[in-house]
């Protein structure tokens, strides 16, 4: 279908994407503002970036956040993938409904509830709040997202590929590692990235479960924002957005190239 878009459709797209991207662009532009006032342009400067790197609490928070995100996303990827395999490959097992309920609930549950309930749980079992409680909380939340991403892939997975491997003499475990895993790997990677980003981004659950010495970047940014706008936060945000943008663009280009390759040979 290569019909031209009507004026109405083009307008919707332009306005829609302007709405989505303008605030972020403005925020990035003002990170290069020489003035301390976030809303008044005072000339180009990178001073807030150097201030940012000298801001030890902020850098410390970034480091803590990164470690939590890596740990929890790794654990969540393993747990979530196992859960997805269980849900797609084990048919009806006892407690399946409860299991699927527990997978979907954390995704739609308001974060304040999840955060509060985990905190009360950690208090009840006497676990000191801090780095590990946030990691456990994030693992629990994000594994559900990994499950859904991997499950969607497994549901569209052509089972005859596994049957073909077994038919050709590969025992179950070898079939899994030589056929199933390579083919669902992109969804596992996508699940990991999703879990990582969610953990990096979370303010509410981390706030409930944080303790001394475990201040994450969102908690730090939030407390600074409550005190007023700060160009340093703009600079930090710009760096974060830049990293994500490069990552997403690379992934898109890579998948686009493989698409083009198959287009060319099919045609």
């Amino acid at each position: 279908m290569n019909r031209r878009l009507s004026l109405f459709n083009v307008t919707s797209l332009v306005l829609g994407f302007a709405f989505l991207y303008l605030p972020i662009l403005l925020l990035m532009v003002y990170s290069f503002n020489a003035s301390r006032l976030v809303t008044v342009w005072g000339g180009f400067s990178t001073q807030w970036y150097s201030a940012l790197f000298r801001n030890e609490p902020l850098m410390e928070a970034a480091w803590v956040t990164l470690r939590i995100a890596l740990l929890s996303a790794s654990a969540a990827t393993i747990l979530g993938t196992l859960a997805a395999i269980a849900l797609t490959r084990y048919g009806r097992f006892t407690g399946r409904t409860l299991f699927t309920g527990m997978i979907y609930a954390p995704m739609v549950m308001p974060e304040v509830i999840t955060g509060l309930s985990l905190l009360l749980f950690f208090v009840a079992i006497g676990l000191d709040r801090g780095f590990w409680t946030i990691t456990l909380a994030h693992t629990t939340l994000t594994m559900c997202f990994v499950t859904v991403v991997v499950q969607a892939r497994l549901l569209t997975f052509d089972r005859s590929l596994e049957e073909a491997a077994m038919d050709l003499g590969a025992p179950p475990l070898r079939t899994f590692f030589s056929v199933t895993l390579p083919l669902i790997a992109p969804s596992i990677v996508a699940g990991f990235l999703l879990a990582f980003t969610l953990s990096l981004d979370d303010l509410v659950i981390a706030s409930f479960n944080t303790g001394p010495g475990a201040t994450t970047l969102p908690i730090r940014i939030y407390s600074q924002v409550r005190l007023g706008l700060s160009p340093e936060v703009n600079a930090a945000s710009t760096i974060l957005i830049g990293i994500v943008a490069v990552g997403v663009l690379t992934a898109t280009l890579l998948s686009k190239r493989s698409l083009l390759r198959s287009d060319r040979t099919a045609g």
Binding site: N9, V38, A86, Y90, V108, E111, V112, F176, L229, L259
Partner: protein, 301 residues
């Protein structure tokens, strides 16, 4: 699939057991604890609640439980108001999201095939950037001396700065902005599947374009409309960051209330009761959403 799954032989019972156990411990159990604490009395202590459950005394456990906290929730109109106001704000936001999201999703679905992956990526992209940062960006825009007022005054459209920040309007803008991808993507998914020849058939049979839209496009997009609406409505009810940063002191929302009960008043049992209340409000939409979602997943088989 009735055949013997090869994974069953891989590790009998082990594979589903680990995540199952994990969720039982870190998701289900905490909820039971919240439920229990919502029935206990506050205490000036660390942690600031008095456990009512003693293993030694089952009778005392049941007699010690009371609905005092829930009585407080009903007596104090603050909580009822916050609940109603949350539902209202979430409902209005969802309607606004549909209004804004539908034309975008529709235009994406009508765009040339080769551009669609890019458009989808562009919608998803903001989701990958921090939620907090995106809300923060609006503070600078909506402030009285902020960029929106500067632009409008610069264009001569208004004489005095509009007061948007710290009002409910700002909350609506924030929710629509933050949740737009969640509305557009399910809508796009259901619109993109639609065969354009259906519309052509309707036109051919004498239906004017607007009626073809209402009688063909919209009903067929219903699964997307329902999924998108629930996906926005449910978290919007319990939203904390947006009303806290963009809303004013008069913007009542239940998530914000829970937060302040917990962090400012340090009344953990009451905060737990608020959590239970919020959960009860959301049970029905969550169950519907789960049903819609799992049916869509199954449908892809």
């Amino acid at each position: 699939m009735a055949g013997p799954s090869f994974l069953k032989r891989l590790g009998p019972g082990l594979v589903p057991f680990v995540p199952y156990l994990w969720l039982a411990v870190f998701f289900l159990l905490p909820f039971l604890i919240v439920f229990k604490i919502s029935l206990s009395d506050p205490a000036v202590a660390q942690p600031p609640y008095r456990p009512v459950f003693e293993w030694s005394d089952i009778a005392a456990f049941f007699s010690g439980l009371d609905l005092e906290n829930f009585a407080t929730l009903i007596d104090d109109s603050l909580y009822l108001d916050a609940t109603l106001s949350s539902l209202r704000i979430a409902a209005i936001s969802t309607a606004l999201l549909l209004l804004v999201g539908f034309p975008i999703a529709y235009a994406m679905a009508r765009a040339p095939q080769k551009h669609r992956p890019l458009l989808v990526a562009l919608v998803i992209m903001p989701f990958w950037t921090s939620f907090l940062i995106r809300i923060y960006a609006w503070v600078a825009i909506l402030k009285p001396e902020g960029l929106l007022n500067q632009a409008l005054m610069g264009l001569g459209l208004i004489g005095d700065p509009l007061n948007i920040l710290n009002t409910e309007t700002a909350v609506y803008i924030g929710i629509v902005y933050a949740y737009l991808p969640f509305m557009v993507l399910p809508l796009y998914a259901s619109l993109e599947k639609q065969d354009h020849s259906l519309i052509e058939a309707a036109l051919d049979l004498g239906s004017p374009p607007w009626r073809a839209f209402w009688t063909i496009t919209v009903p067929l997009a219903m699964p997307g409309i329902v999924a998108g609406s629930l996906l926005c409505f449910i978290p919007a009810v319990g939203e904390f960051v947006i009303p806290d940063l963009l809303g004013g002191s008069e913007t009542l929302m239940i998530g914000k209330q829970l937060w302040s009960e917990f962090f400012s008043n340090r009344d953990w049992p009451l905060a737990s009761s608020v959590a239970i209340l919020l959960l009860l409000i959301l049970v029905v939409p969550i169950v519907i959403y789960r049903d819609v979602e799992s049916r869509q997943l199954e449908g892809r088989r």
